[in-house]
Each structure stands twice: as structure tokens, then as C-alpha cells.
Amino acid sequence: MNEEKKALLAEHARQIRIGAIKAIHAAKAGHPGGALSIAEILSYLYFEEMKVDPKNPKDPDRDRFVLSKGHASAGLYAALAEKGFFDKELLLTFRKNGSILQGHPDMKHIPGVDMSTGSLGQGISAACGMALAGKVDKKDYRVYAILGDGEIEEGQVWEAAMFARHYKLDNLCAFVDFNGLQIDGKITDVIDPTPIDEKFAAFGWNVVVIDGNDLDQIEKAVECAKATKGKPTAVIAKTVKGLGVSYMENQVGWHGKAPNDEEYAIAMRELGETL
């Protein structure tokens, strides 16, 4: 991709990180690590790839996005706000009583959220359903999903993997946010789901392994998915959990806690945001 486009998408990714951390700090709770790790993927999908219109969020012909790892909601909400689905100020109500911005994505109330998720393993199945419906109705929309690397320990993910291959859902592209950490520790220590690429390949998917924080590689993976016919694509995206905030990077402790005021100031400074 050209430098101008890359700079623009990198800036959207930075804004997504800032929005996510602001939301989590305001909520005094949330999941920063896995929201920061997917900022480039969200930026590329929402600002380069997907046909979505903030003015017509329910357009039946739109591309769909399912955040199967629903706990990274702060990242998704920040991306939706950055795209203009709702005001950025709303991010400060994240997880608060009365806010539409529920702890986990809620399609009934949040403009731009295509599927309610949070219970791991279910979002990828719903994405399969959307892709299948698109095939039945002969629509050309595409469906994107992001799974967590811990999430794929759920057996349902592999039920969905069988389903997507069987029905040749080449309009489905699922990213696996391979940051290597889950709540209880390293994924390889908790219950090792690797090798992830070989598993999806064995299930009959087209598999691309990339650096998931590299916009060029994300673009190549998405183009590869679009060019692949007759099977779904899994993008195994190696990422850094907590990327962009030094003390959160690769730290399992930052899976699910909010920064205090001091930590928040450091995070904003590192992300280049003036408070």
C-alpha cells in the first residue's frame, strides 16, 4: 500500500487505541490488551475494506463484522466512533449503567454492531450464518470476524470451522488475534491450541499467517481471502497484546483491567494524545 494510505490507516489505528483506553479508563474496567492488539485490523477493515455506511448501519447489502472475541469491545466501539457511527464522547459512558455501550457488543442498541457477542465461540458461528445467508440470497457482501487465540479453545469454533468449509463460505474471512496470552497466562501454558495455522488448514480453510499489526500484511491477507474461491480464509494474525502502551505490551495482567489515573496519563502520552 502507498505511504499516504498507510499513514492514514495508522492514524485511525492510533485513534482506535486512544478511544479504547479512554473508554476503559472512564469505565474503570474493561479489556485493554486484546483491544490494542487488533487496532490495525479494525482500522484496515473499517477504513479501507468494508462497505459500511454510518448513516445507514442496517443496509442489507453491507459487509458484516463480528467481534467473536467480544471482550475487546472497547476496540470495536472506538473504531465505530472513529468511523462516525456515534459520537466519540459516548465512549466515556462505556460499561456504565444506562449506556448503550455494554461491556460486550450489543447489536440491539449500538449502531454498527452486527452481532451480539461475548460468550466465546459463538460469534464465529453467527458469522458463518451471515455468510450462508449471503450465499442463499445471492448477495455479494463479505463477512469478517476476529477470534481470540484463547477463544479457539472453545469446541464450537471447530464446529464452525467444519461448517464454513462444508458450505464453501468463501465470503467469510476470520482473523485469529494470535497474541499468545489469555486470562490465566500464556495460551501454550493454559491449554495449548497451537499449531493454529495447521488446525485451520486441516479443517479445509485457506490459511494466511501474518504480522497482525502490519497494515501491508493485513491488506495482502484480505486480498488473498477475496481471491480465494470455494473455501473460507483464516488469517492467523500474530500480534502484540497491549501494543502501543509500553507497560501493557505482552503483559498477561493487562488482559482485563483498567489503568489508574497515573497509568492513564502515561498511556495517553505514549499514544501521542494531549490531555
Binding site: 447489536m107 452481532m115 451480539s116 458461528s125 458463518c128 451471515m130 445467508a133 442463499v136 461448517f163
Partner: protein, 311 residues
């Protein structure tokens, strides 16, 4: 009551018939021959999707189809639709209130020979706890067909419960089936028998036995468990002062629970519950097991007399 047809048979026929007029898809989990969705599959193969033995995935796939604007009917045995996939039904379908129609067959002990692992006596209780879920439990083939069409035209998730065993036809084509409106099959003044699903015909038989003993029983077919027709329940309970509930389901959390919840505040009335006591089923013929677990006209009549004594 000459003809007997299983409600699952009616379900399959209804899907195949409605498929000509309405644009919906049908999913099954490797049980299409048993759930009778195979009838639809033969007629509309391009709108039928077998999900294999993976009920959790199937429910969430159905949610995605509904989120994309299409109506899916999803079928498996009640044990796996409501039991195994409970959390998918709750979180993928119920929470976002998606337009998914769950057709659960092989409910209750009348499944027979397969035994306890396949005899679901808990599904109504489970489904009833999900906000916004509509639960239909038709008593015969005629009302089962009507229930399928009503579910299709209803906006929101619906759980339909069907049986394996062939049972008597109770209704003619003039049946008016309305979700949330129980059907009073017989007027009476001494006791109210509220039944749902398969044993409704037994409730009518019980009323005849009671009639022979000079006891006048009111019989209600409560085909919709949720939303419950509380108005009808309360009015009848006030009139007769004694209630018996009858269901091929655990006495915990099903119709009996729903009726008790409805009348405990409005008009405290003695209620005796006929159903599967707090126990698992077992192998045997369906007809044999029904009687053994207390689902017989004679037991219903005995419970009605006991309820009257509690007035």
C-alpha cells in the same frame, strides 16, 4: 379420536407446505429423518442445511442467518436443542431477540426405547427463563401445523415442542390458533384441568371419568406456555377453586410452575401438578412409560379429586 399422527410429523409437513409460500431456511443436526425436516429437505434442498452433530454451532449459525434478515427454522431433539445448546439459544438468539424458530422434537418420556439420555423433561423450564422467548407446545397434529405457521409469522424467537409418538387428532381445520391464547376445550365448575402438549387428550378422557362421578371439570389446552394466558388461568381458577396441571415434562419449572406463578398472587388456589416427578426417564415403549410416569386419564382424574379436597 380415530386418527393418530405424531406432532413431529405435522411439523415436517407444515414446513414443506409453508415453504411454498414463505422464504425461510431449515437447519438440522443430522436428525432430519427423525425430526421430519427431511420432508422439507426433499422439496427444497437448496434451502435446507445440515449442520451435522453440532447443535451449539447450529443455534449460533441460525442467529447469524436471522441477523442477516432471513428466518431459519432449527431442529434437533429437545434434549439437544434446549439442553445442550441452551447457552447458544440464550446468548446468540435470546439476548439479541433474533427471529429464529426452534423446532424441538422427541420431547418427554414418550420418546420411549432410547431411554433417559434422549427423553427431555426439562426443556420448557430451561426455555421459559429466557426473556422474550415464546414457547409453543401443541397437543395434536392440527394445532402443531397451526403453531408452525404462527411461529413463522411471529416476530422474535420461538421454541416449538413436538413429540415422537403418534397421538389422537383433537382439532379440525376450523381451529383458531393464537399465540398466548389457551383453548377452553370443556366448560366445568368443580375443577380446572390445564394441560399442554401430548397429554391434552388424556385430560379430556379424565374429564369424562369425572363426569361419570358427578364432577364437572373444565379442560384447557395451554398450547402456549410463554407468554402464558394468565387471564384464562386466573378466571378459571377463580371459578372452580381447584387446579390440576398436566404436562409431559418435569413437574419443576414447566406448565405447572408457570400456572402456580400466575395464580399465587392473583388468586391463591390449590394446584396439583401431574408430570414427570423429580426423576429421569428410562427405556420402554412410549405408551407404557407415559402411564408409568403418571400420565394417564385415571391419574389425572384422581389428582382432580384430590385437588377438590384441598379447597
Amino acid at each position: 379420536m380415530a386418527d393418530k399422527i405424531a406432532t413431529r410429523q405435522a411439523y415436517g409437513e407444515a414446513l414443506a407446505a409453508l415453504g411454498e409460500k414463505y422464504d425461510f431456511v431449515v437447519l438440522d443436526a443430522d436428525l432430519a429423518e427423525a425430526t421430519k425436516t427431511g420432508t422439507f429437505k426433499k422439496k427444497f434442498p437448496e434451502r435446507f442445511f445440515d449442520c451435522g452433530i453440532a447443535e451449539g454451532n447450529m443455534m449460533s449459525v441460525a442467529a447469524g442467518i436471522a441477523a442477516a434478515g432471513k428466518i431459519p427454522f432449527v431442529s434437533s431433539f429437545a434434549m439437544f436443542a434446549a439442553g445442550r445448546a441452551f447457552e447458544q439459544v440464550r446468548n446468540s438468539i435470546g439476548y439479541p431477540h433474533l427471529n429464529v424458530k426452534i423446532g424441538a422434537t422427541h420431547a418427554g418420556v414418550s420418546v420411549g426405547e432410547d431411554g433417559a439420555t434422549h427423553q427431555c423433561n426439562e426443556d420448557i423450564a430451561l426455555m421459559r427463563t429466557i426473556p422474550g422467548m415464546t414457547i409453543l407446545n401443541p397437543a395434536d397434529a392440527t394445532s402443531a401445523r397451526a403453531a408452525v405457521e404462527a411461529a413463522l409469522l411471529h416476530s422474535g424467537p420461538v421454541y416449538m415442542r413436538f413429540g415422537r409418538l403418534a397421538t389422537p387428532i383433537l382439532y379440525g381445520d376450523d381451529l383458531k390458533f393464537e399465540i398466548g391464547k389457551g383453548i377452553k376445550l370443556r366448560e366445568g365448575g368443580d375443577v380446572t384441568i390445564i394441560a399442554t402438549g401430548l397429554p391434552v387428550y388424556m385430560a379430556l378422557e379424565a374429564a369424562k371419568i369425572l363426569d361419570g362421578e358427578g364432577i364437572s371439570a373444565e379442560v384447557i389446552d395451554m398450547h402456549t406456555i410463554k407468554p402464558l394466558d394468565s387471564e384464562l388461568v386466573i378466571a378459571s381458577a377463580k371459578k372452580t377453586g381447584a387446579v390440576v396441571t398436566v404436562e409431559e415434562h418435569s413437574v419443576i419449572g414447566g406448565l405447572g410452575g408457570a400456572v402456580c406463578e400466575a395464580i399465587c398472587c392473583a388468586c391463591p388456589t390449590p394446584v396439583l401438578r401431574v408430570g414427570i416427578e423429580d426423576t429421569f426417564g428410562k427405556s420402554g415403549s412410549g405408551a407404557e412409560l407415559l402411564g408409568e410416569f403418571g400420565l394417564s386419564p385415571e391419574n389425572i382424574a384422581a389428582k382432580a379429586k384430590a385437588a377438590i379436597k384441598l379447597k
